[in-house]
């Protein structure tokens, strides 16, 4: 009798706890950066896409590790060298109840150049020449040449409703229509409620979402840019989850029993880049005069610089353990990164010997420029590099500066040795190697971010062949070979692969951290 009573009361309590769990259906997330507009086609920024993925779907989906998966398109295949066929998902509805069809895809692609902001999404549709609607759920995309990576580009192609956005598709009207919610009609897991620049983004559940119903009735994304304040908001119970925990805070949280952290390798690798012009502005002899001939052209000098770097120290001391030593300029395991890429060693003695062989027994002087406010630890890594170079005899003047000064100056080619992070946002090599390592060739649309004058004809040939190769296996091999060669040349010297950390209250949430650092409410579920 007593036993039964106890059992029943335990059950009752259990049910009450479950009921309480069911009521707690709002997820509040503290994010470092928010969207720039509610128009998904305005900006290509990562934080913008992160927010947009709640309201809109992309044609092709990128998974937790950036692998390409079906999204609004169920399947795709190349028909000939310049045509891709996409089969669209049937039965998908927009938030206003209208059907998703091929017309919306065509409309979305053609809308991008009309409404794009400076951080332009045009890079993701630049290969598209023409969009042909075959039937309601089939489209053919004509490209300006063989475009092997088109499905990868389309992971950022957000589909808006051609009806709702019809009148809001010029530069002047887009922000008004989307920020007010009139045109903010997507197929995504959450519906738009309200947003203000740098403020809160409020969303409510789309019960008819094609992937199924989300766990949260309401989602609020609060923009809290300061790292310490964001964490404080979590500890004060104002938010349930925060992204981008700093490495110092991460260390502290390890000892905190109330907090759970989620760790993921990020897409960002820190790279040192060495100018390859005949004459470079910031490398000097020991008296401070600019050297006539650029020593960075000498492979021995570049090898010495590489050998001077102690990547383990970089990770353990500078980043407090929040990173991995990198040996190639893309994260390991991404499409086109190679298992045979150069192994990096730390050998200051050999570095000194190489410098002597190259004609600098007493070293030389150089300036090193880096960003200091773009990615976690960038300024500190820069300082670390300076000290490591000094140990082998390269007297380095370290300049860790704000990105708004760094990037314009880098574009004007004012630097000789410089370091910044590069994120392989699409998860494959054409994005990274095509932009950085191909010689600058505007006619081929390659090498746009090659700010070193690096030109290796063999690499160029491999990259061009890979860009046209539609067979996946062959393409992978071509990129891997290119990667190996680029790493051997040591013009781009990888340092560390960064990691990103989220934090939430212990035992409250289930979440799989994503490599692209998105915090997607639909894929986060309550633990109870």
């Amino acid at each position: 009798m007593l036993k039964n009573l106890i059992r029943m009361s335990v059950m009752a309590i259990g049910m009450m706890v479950m009921a309480a769990g069911a009521f707690a259906q709002t997820l509040t997330v503290g994010v470092r950066g928010g969207p720039e507009s509610m128009d998904p086609h305005y900006s290509a920024l990562g934080v913008h896409a992160d927010a947009m993925k709640h309201v809109f779907d992309t044609l092709v989906w990128s998974g937790d590790n950036l692998q390409v998966e079906p999204g609004l398109a169920e399947s795709w295949r190349p028909i000939d060298d310049t045509t891709w066929e996409f089969k669209l998902r049937k039965g998908v509805k927009f938030h206003d109840g209208s059907d998703f069809t091929a017309e919306d895809v065509k409309f979305s692609i053609e809308r991008i150049p009309e409404v794009t902001g400076p951080t332009t999404l045009m890079i993701y549709v630049r290969r598209v020449k023409d969009v042909e609607i075959i039937d309601d759920h089939t489209i053919h995309i004509k490209t300006d040449g063989p475009a092997a990576t088109l499905p990868n580009d389309f992971v950022r192609l957000f589909i808006v409703s051609s009806k709702a956005a019809k009148d809001y598709s010029t530069k002047e009207t887009a922000a008004e229509g989307f920020n007010s919610g009139k045109a903010t009609v997507g197929t995504g897991p959450y519906k738009y409620v309200s947003w203000e620049p740098k403020g809160d983004l409020v969303l409510e559940r789309n019960d008819d979402y094609w992937r199924g119903k989300g766990a949260w009735e309401k989602v609020v994304r609060k923009e809290i840019p300061n790292d310490s304040s964001r964490l404080a908001a979590l500890k004060a119970g104002q938010v349930d989850l925060v992204n981008y925990v700093s490495s110092a805070d991460w260390l502290t949280l390890q000892a905190d029993a109330d907090t759970e952290t989620y760790l993921a390798d990020s897409v960002y690798v820190m790279n040192l880049q060495l100018d390859q012009r005949e004459k470079t502005p910031q490398v000097y002899d020991l008296d401070g005069n600019v050297l006539e001939k650029n020593p960075l052209l000498d492979p021995k000098v570049r090898e010495a610089i590489d050998l001077a770097i102690d990547r383990d120290i970089m990770v353990e001391v500078v980043l407090e353990g929040l990173g991995r030593p990198a040996r190639q300029i893309m994260p390991e395991g991404f499409f086109g990164s190679s298992d045979n890429a150069l192994k990096r060693v730390h050998d200051p003695e050999k570095a000194k010997a190489l410098l002597a062989e190259a004609g600098f027994p007493n070293g030389f002087k150089m300036d090193l420029y880096c960003t200091s406010d773009r990615l976690p630890g960038d300024g500190a890594i820069c300082q670390g590099l300076g000290q490591m170079f000094a140990k082998v005899g390269i007297q380095t003047d370290v300049n860790a500066i704000t990105r708004s000064v760094y990037f314009p100056a880098q574009a004007k080619r004012e630097y000789s040795a410089f370091m910044n992070g590069w994120g392989t946002l699409t998860g494959e090599a054409s994005y990274t190697l095509g932009s950085l390592a191909h010689s600058n060739a505007p006619d081929l649309k390659l090498g746009a971010f090659n700010r070193t004058d690096y030109a290796n004809p063999e690499v160029d040939k491999l990259l061009q062949a890979a860009g046209k190769e539609l067979d996946e296996k062959t393409r992978r091999e071509l990129y891997e070979q290119a990667m190996e060669k680029i790493m051997m040349d040591r013009v781009y010297i990888p340092l560390v692969n960064l990691q990103a950390v989220w934090a939430g209250n212990k035992g409250e949430l289930n979440m799989v951290p994503r490599t692209d650092e998105d915090t997607l409410a639909f894929f986060i579920t309550p633990a109870k």
């Binding site: 507009s37 008004e176 740098k198 404080a232 908001a233 119970g237």
Partner: protein, 308 residues
């Protein structure tokens, strides 16, 4: 203000093309050119400036590069948040600081006066970001009394939201308000104390005492009036500075005000916002100084007439 706009324009131009920061790194040249032309940045500097000037004269400050909404809307939407926070902080600082300062000046040797002066030194010298974080840590994280960030509930009046009218909004405002007011508070204490000590030794006070006036009448009627001119001056300047550059506090407490807007615009080289903002700040300072000058005449009639 014309000079101001030229300086900002040329300054940003000297840093480099604002779009270099914003255009995605892997954009090919044709996309780059398209975007640069679209935002009118392919024009020579003088023509960009001229276009800007013509538009401003028509009341159009242009569109933000980052948000693609009219700059004026963007600034006005943030103004109430900053206005109420700065007023709260500066008024609070003044109303608490002046009495404390007068007391400290009246009884310079009392231990409570020394404590007040110690407080003012702390207010001056401790960096406000540190105080902000300590306030959050104490009242939001450890004690859990007050929220750590954001603006809380707002009430709409004249189409804009104000926090100070709701309890929830006030609780959000308290920590950043205290944080921001510390400097003003310290300043007011020092000014009031110095002024009071000086005035207490003058004949005015001696004659007042001789005439049998009570100490409180002397302090309130005479001393306060005589020390008020420097206080009002500093009050005005503080109000202006706090309105325009409450950057640190707004960042730490995620207060969606103007300071945060301008610092974000600077990191993104969002030139239209920077130029418009600084022009408005110049206007603000000119207005405040005008109001202060008018207040002088009220406080001290001698300043009217001939010397004005």
């Amino acid at each position: 203000m014309l000079v101001m706009s030229v300086i900002v324009f040329v300054g940003v131009y000297a840093i480099g093309n604002p779009l270099e920061v914003l255009i995605p790194p892997d954009a090919p040249q044709d996309v780059r050119d398209f975007i640069i032309a679209r935002f009118g940045l392919d024009q020579p500097l003088w023509r960009q400036y001229l276009t800007f000037l013509v538009n401003v004269l028509q009341g159009d400050f242009g569109y933000s590069f980052v948000y693609n909404i009219p700059v004026l809307d963007l600034i006005l939407s943030r103004l109430p948040a900053t206005l109420e926070l700065a007023s709260f902080a500066v008024l609070g600082g003044a109303f608490i600081g002046v009495p404390l300062g007068v007391y400290a000046g009246y009884r310079p040797n009392a231990s409570s006066s020394k404590a007040i002066m110690g407080l003012s030194i702390l207010g001056f010298s401790v960096p406000s970001f540190w105080v902000g974080l300590i306030l959050i840590l104490t009242f939001a994280v450890s004690l859990g009394w007050l929220p750590a960030s954001g603006r809380g509930d707002t009430v709409e009046i004249f189409g804009v939201g104000w926090s100070f009218l709701t309890l929830n909004g006030l609780s959000h405002m308290l920590l950043p308000g205290v944080n921001l007011s510390l400097f003003t508070l310290a300043m007011m204490i020092r000014l009031a104390r110095a002024g009071t000590r000086e005035i207490m030794l003058t004949d005015t006070v001696k004659f007042g005492r001789a005439a049998g006036l009570s100490e409180s009448t002397i302090l309130l009627r005479h001393v306060l009036k005589l020390i008020s001119i420097p206080i009002v001056t500093v009050f005005g300047l503080e109000l202006g500075t706090t309105l325009a550059f409450a950057v640190v506090t707004e960042t730490i407490f995620s207060w969606p005000g103007l300071g945060k807007l301008i610092i974000d615009s600077i990191t993104n080289l969002d030139r239209p916002v920077m130029v418009a903002y600084l022009i408005l700040v110049a206007l603000l300072f000119v207005t405040i100084n005008l109001v202060i000058d008018l207040t002088y005449r009220l406080l001290d009639p001698r300043l009217g007439g001939r010397s004005a």
